[in-house]
């Protein structure tokens, strides 16, 4: 299910117009981003946890050129599925 289908589905279910739906999506992503940048994790009950994972910088070697590269540290959004959801899929 792609984004369009999801937005249309959600509008249908909540019976809201596209603007409010877009605003809600935007505010949710914004809120999620803020929490992630603050180092918080956002748990969604019955679904999973969003968290920002820090990845330390590391030295990688380009296998072809043998160049040693210092990869910078990263922070990425990670999602850990909840046990409930996992069980649902596996049964």
């Amino acid at each position: 299910m792609n984004t369009k289908e999801i937005t249309s589905e959600i509008r249908k279910r909540l019976q809201i117009d596209a603007e409010t739906a877009d605003a809600l999506f935007a505010s949710f992503t914004n809120c999620l981003k803020e929490e992630m940048l603050n180092g918080n994790s956002l748990s969604i009950p019955g679904f999973g946890i969003f968290e920002a994972r820090r990845k330390k910088e590391r030295i990688s070697i380009n296998p072809t050129t043998k160049q040693r590269l210092l990869s910078p540290p990263k922070q990425s959004l990670a999602f850990k599925v909840s046990a409930i959801l996992k069980d649902k899929f596996n049964n």
């Binding site: 792609n2 909540l14 809201i16 969604i44 959004l77």
Partner: protein, 649 residues
């Protein structure tokens, strides 16, 4: 701040942000994830706009090992939910690190060399390896002769001047041959103990010997010269390492004092120097007496000449007189040496040693013996009156003549004489070269002395700033007291390399050094006044950011985190460097400590990402408690501080 937030916590924000009721936002989120769940169940993929894509990934069953009991187990096939964030969101979340780019490491080690290493290199340059090797070899060698060989080579290296090697090598070879003989070995064993004394004392000896060498031309000098040079070098090494000097009579401090009171200098070196010259004719004379075993009997003979020259004023006259003797000897020495050698050979033959070659080597070890003995006996010789010295000189001359007289009568093999004549010529040339090289060494030591003076000045400036203001006032006095000692140490180094002819120069050098030190003292005082005026911004210590201090108090009250820390180094940021890179360069290839650097430089850096090339950052001296690059605890704490640093954008 590492809190776990649930949906309820953000509902208010979302509602406010979107301008809807809280209930609507709650409904929105619940239905959103319901739909995603359904979509995953149905299609196995669900894309939330601006957030990312959820996917169901089927994982086949695979074997694994139970970590606890090591038994094999099979992980059954299952489905996994993967999430790939949208590109925009990903970049937003990575924004604190967005400025960071992959950096190509040019070398295996750190890209930028630490200035500390440079400093160490400078220090190491002052004590060349060739120097340091010589004392070790002298102490370790069971016999003198190998030590002599070892000694000769470093001298040639250190002198750098084109000393003809072929001359030294034949002598060395001959020395090798001599080592095999039983005659020499007992002598060496006795001399061994004295060699150590000999190493420490020869400061003045060397200078004077080098001075006298200009005037004297005696072929035997070559070997003792080398040994003297080696002693110079060894002494230099000793001084630099300050290890062996304390053992012997002549501590560097004593020598310093002797340098201060020039009368001591006059007394000590000259008697020592001349014996070296005087020993050489005697050496052969000693051998015919077969005092090899009875080295004690040789000593008085050796000691007497030691005393001959007493004062500096006499040095010239003595040198001339002795030079006259020696010049006479030079002509005579050639036969006399050979004669004595031959006489030695006869004796050696008497001792059932068949080889004729040991003659030359026999001189060499013996020539060292009296030196060592001289060194041991110099103190005694100092005390002896000057009158006896003149008598001794006469007796010495007589001895030389006596030694010369019987020489032609002995079984002289002319071939050997011719060889020795050739050797003499080479040795004369070599002595000239040594004189040149000695001048060169002299200036090198002077340069080293000046460098040392500057280093000590810098060091005092560094130490000076660490202390508090109350202590600073004392320090302003302290360097004045301490630096002169350094001056003395440097003086002791400088005059060793100087000939008698350059005594005036040495004085001028000493004065220049004093000037340098006075300037450094003035600098110290200036810096002290600056520190007093600018108390908050110490040049030596620097405060960490208050946020870090508060954080450490709050989170780690058990750790006594200092608010101030020494500045280990000022680091100029190079192009493409980042804090982590700087940490890597300064903390033993470990990148974790960049948080400290950030909080140490928050007056310059508003955020960790604001590092630009050309900036000057202060590197904190974290010490072993915080900056141990091998301690995982230190690294963990550093990582924690890094996390903290990232929150300050």
């Amino acid at each position: 701040m590492n809190e776990k937030k649930s949906l309820q916590d953000i509902l208010g924000n979302i509602a406010e942000d979107a301008g809807v009721t809280k209930k609507l936002s709650e409904n929105f989120l619940r239905t959103l994830f319901e739909i995603v769940e359904e979509a995953l169940n149905k299609d196995g993929i669900a894309k939330i706009p601006n957030i990312g894509t959820f996917k169901i990934i089927a994982i086949e069953e695979r074997k694994s090992v139970n970590v606890q009991d090591g038994s094999e187990m099979i992980i059954p096939a299952h489905k996994k939910v993967s999430f790939v964030p949208e590109k925009n969101l990903k970049e937003e979340i990575n924004k604190p690190y967005a400025h960071l780019e992959t950096y190509v490491l040019k070398d295996d080690g750190p890209v930028d060399t630490d200035t500390d290493d440079d400093y160490e290199d400078e220090v190491e340059d002052e004590t060349p390896n060739s120097y340091s090797s010589s004392p070790i070899s002298v102490n370790n060698t069971s016999t003198e002769i190998p030590s002599q060989n070892v000694i000769n080579t470093p001298v040639q290296e250190s002198v750098v001047a084109p000393v003809p090697e072929p001359i030294s090598t034949p002598t060395q070879e001959s020395v090798y041959t001599s080592t095999q003989e039983p005659i020499n070995t007992p002598v060496h064993e006795k001399a061994e103990l004295k060699v150590e004394e000999h190493i420490n004392t020869p400061f003045q000896e060397n200078t004077n010997s080098s001075a006298t060498n200009d005037k004297y031309v005696s072929y035997i000098q070559e070997i003792p010269l080398n040994t003297n040079n080696s002693n110079l070098s060894s002494n230099m090494a000793d001084e630099n390492t300050l290890q062996n000097n304390i053992e012997s009579n002549t501590n560097p401090t004593n020598e310093l004092e002797s340098n201060e009171t020039k009368s001591d200098i006059v007394e000590n070196p000259i008697p020592q120097s001349d014996p070296i010259v005087s020993n050489q004719p005697e050496v052969p004379s000693n051998e015919p007496v077969e005092t090899i075993n009875n080295s004690s009997s040789v000593e008085p003979v050796v000691n007497n000449p030691i005393v001959e020259p007493t004062t500096d004023a006499q040095t010239n006259s003595n040198s001339q007189t002795i030079g006259g003797e020696s010049s006479n000897n030079i002509q005579e020495e050639i036969p006399s040496a050979s004669q004595t050698n031959i006489s030695n050979t006869t004796e050696v033959q008497e001792q059932n040693v068949v080889e004729t070659t040991p003659e030359a080597p026999a001189q060499q070890p013996t020539s060292e013996e009296p030196q060592a003995q001289n060194v041991a006996n110099t103190q005694e010789s100092k005390e002896q009156p000057a009158e006896t010295k003149a008598e001794n000189a006469d007796s010495q001359a007589k001895e030389n003549q006596e030694a010369a007289a019987p020489a032609p009568k002995t079984k002289a093999e002319r071939l050997k004489e011719e060889k020795r004549l050739k050797k003499l010529k080479r040795q004369k040339e070599r002595e000239e070269m040594n004189a040149k090289s000695r001048k060169w060494i002299k200036w090198m030591f002077i340069g080293l002395a000046i460098v040392l003076a500057l280093l000590f000045g810098i060091k005092y400036a560094m130490d000076h700033n660490i202390l508090d203001n109350s202590a600073k006032e004392q320090n302003t006095e302290a360097p004045v007291e301490n630096t002169p000692t350094t001056n003395e140490g440097e003086k002791a180094i400088a005059p060793t390399s100087e000939n008698n002819s350059s005594v005036d120069q040495s004085g001028s050098v000493a004065t220049t050094e004093n000037e340098d030190n006075t300037t450094s003292q003035e600098e110290n005082q200036e810096s002290a006044t600056e520190d007093n005026s600018l108390f908050s911004s110490d040049a030596e210590t620097h405060t960490f950011d208050q946020r870090l201090i508060d954080y450490m108090k709050k989170q780690h009250p058990e750790i006594k985190f200092p608010s101030k820390m020494k500045i280990r180094e000022e680091y100029v940021v190079k192009e493409g460097s980042r804090l982590a890179q700087i940490s890597r360069n300064n903390f033993d290839n470990v990148m974790n400590f960049w948080g400290y650097i950030y909080f140490f430089n928050t007056d310059v850096l508003s955020s960790p990402s604001e590092v630009r090339s050309g900036m000057t950052l202060k590197i904190p001296d974290l010490g072993n408690e915080f900056g141990n690059t091998k301690s995982s605890k230190c690294k963990a704490l550093a990582d924690e501080i890094n996390d903290l640093a990232l929150k300050f954008k």
